[in-house]
């Protein structure tokens, strides 16, 4: 049973599809109206990251920096020091991929109020291939002090997250995706930075996911339920600061945990969850659905998710394996 308080879409087969990047674009557009301090910067990808809607409506607050991600991060920091709320965008492979040092010093160490918002995360970039598929960005951002790291799970949540991070004072990294995915939340579904959502309660295993994998987990949970395995599903949209209470309480109850993320298996959500369980001495069997220390390749997003083992079916299999270990 889905958690009624969260107002999720009841029937997943009837859920609409939209890209999380569209949610970002809509959120930013709304912010443009609400807050005159919000400015947008982009490294030559404004349509791809959906900053074009903001740029068209508020051209005086849109700054094209060209193909220069280091400068993107630094200029954003300068704007923040002068009181602006800069949203700086590119693809996740380039930002934070090419400007990690600037993110570290000009933004995080300096507590610059910059929102680094990057699209085209993960394998679902598709045909562009491995160079453009960010599978390491969660790892390299969540180690940075002062940085909030958010991976919203559908288009509506991305819109809410975009609006929420503008209100939050401090550096934020948010990653989202190109491909259209299920919109399983509704306007009424709450979003709060740092507050994980228990989408569905269960007793046999906790599945913790972020980003586009959350909807896959919900699909998997339906299948598992029919086979008599009761799964607790957690949407852990905020990787940092991680929601200690929600995760610890759930895993203490189920004593089995599976993480699901469109990221390398090390350093990302899995790493964050396992570190937390170790810190709090929570004993549990565990498994994961993530990329096995490999680079991606060209293909459609569906083909890639299948080939690299990131589908609902893979989650079903992994949960069964983990539950057996109990």
């Amino acid at each position: 049973m889905l958690n009624k308080d969260l107002h999720l879409v009841d029937d997943l087969s009837k859920a609409e599809k939209a890209a999380t990047r569209d949610g970002f674009g809509k959120g930013l557009l709304e912010l443009g109206e609400k807050n005159k301090d919000v400015v947008g910067l982009c490294a030559d990808l404004k349509e791809s990251v959906r900053m074009n809607w903001f740029a068209e409506k508020y051209p005086e607050r849109y700054i094209a920096v060209g193909v220069a991600e280091q400068n993107l991060a630094g200029v954003a920091a300068g704007l923040a020091f002068a009181g602006k709320i800069p949203f700086a965008s590119s693809f996740s492979v380039f930002s934070p991929g090419r400007n990690w040092d600037q993110l570290r010093v000009s933004i995080c160490y300096s507590k610059a109020n910059v929102k680094l918002c990057s699209s085209h995360a993960g394998l679902t970039v598709g045909e562009d291939g491995a160079t453009h598929q960010a599978l390491e960005d969660i790892a390299i951002t969540r180690v940075l002090p002062n940085l909030v790291v958010i991976v919203p799970s559908d288009a509506l949540e991305t819109k809410k997250a975009t609006i929420a991070i503008a209100k939050y004072q401090g550096p934020v990294y948010m990653r989202f995706s190109r491909e259209k995915t299920l919109v399983y939340t509704t306007e009424q579904t709450p979003f709060e930075i740092g507050k994980a959502l228990v989408l569905k309660e269960g007793n046999d295993a906790t599945v913790i996911a972020c980003g586009i994998m959350v909807a896959e987990v919900l699909k998997a949970a339906e299948v598992l339920e029919k086979e008599g395995i009761s799964v607790e599903v957690i949407n852990n949209h905020t990787i940092k600061p991680i929601d200690v209470e929600t995760i610890i309480n759930s895993v203490k109850k189920t004593k089995a945990v599976v993480t699901a993320e469109e990221h390398q298996k090390t350093g990302g959500l899995r790493g964050a969850v396992l570190e937390l369980l170790a810190e709090y001495d929570v004993m549990a069997v565990s498994g994961y659905v993530a990329v096995e220390d490999k680079f991606g390749e060209s293909g459609t997003s569906v083909e890639l998710l299948e080939k690299y083992g990131l589908t609902a079916a893979d989650i079903v299999e992994e949960v069964k394996k983990v539950v057996k270990k109990k």
Partner: protein, 299 residues
Amino acid sequence: MQKKAAKKEMIKEASSEISIKKLELTANKIRQDIIKMLFAANSGHTAGPLGMVEIFTALYFKILKHDPKNPKLEDRDRLILSNGHICPVQYACMANSGYFPEKELLTLRKINTRLQGHPNRLDLPGLENSSGPLAQGSSIAAGIALAAKMDRKDYTVFCLMSDGEHQEGQIWEALMFAGNKKLNNFIGIIDRNNIQIDGYVEDIMSIEPLRQKLEAFNCNVYEMNGNDMKEVVVTLENVLKNRNKTTRPSIIIAKTVPGKGISFMENKYEWHGRPPKKEEAEAALKELQAEREIIINKR
């Protein structure tokens, strides 16, 4: 020749409320403070800070619109230090102009200090940016200058850079941006002292022809002797006067002598990244005291 004569004339005519002599005395004090700080810290960079004393002194004691008692003054000029490792000269100028007590200078690089080895804006009010990894200040300065334009503010952003850091790509990204966005409120000052850790800049990785490169990036370029107080003040005043007559950023190439003021340190790249030992500090302070007497007795 005509240009030279005109420049000389300008220098002669320089009228300043604070006399050049007074600034030179302040610069001498700053140099002494730098030697004392680095000796107490027993680590840090010596040559760069000493070479930039006239420029920092002119900025903090003459040029900048700022208020040491109100570091967040709304429309203050912004001083962005991009090559953070020369921060001892900035700290010394800040203390001597009243941002914090001078005795705190001796805490440089020590545990729990506000005077970090490379500057941290969150530790010390009055620092606009945190820096260390080279070139990052250039983009930050450009961002602040752009914000000033967006908000129709008139303040100036001074971005202090080293010559060595022009080997970093980010500098050129930032300059391309500043030129493209017509940031005439961006004034860059390049410490052209020709040293970096591994040797002379021109031996390690030449940055010449620097003037032509900067001009090609749509900047107005000035040159000055960065160790001649009068020339520094006049050039800075001149650049500020011309600021609103152009849409371009201005860059001043400041020829400086690394280790300036201490005979055995001048022009030696070995002094880029090490502090003086006891006897070296004593000898340096003796030289500076003698120089002070000369300044007092001149004119």
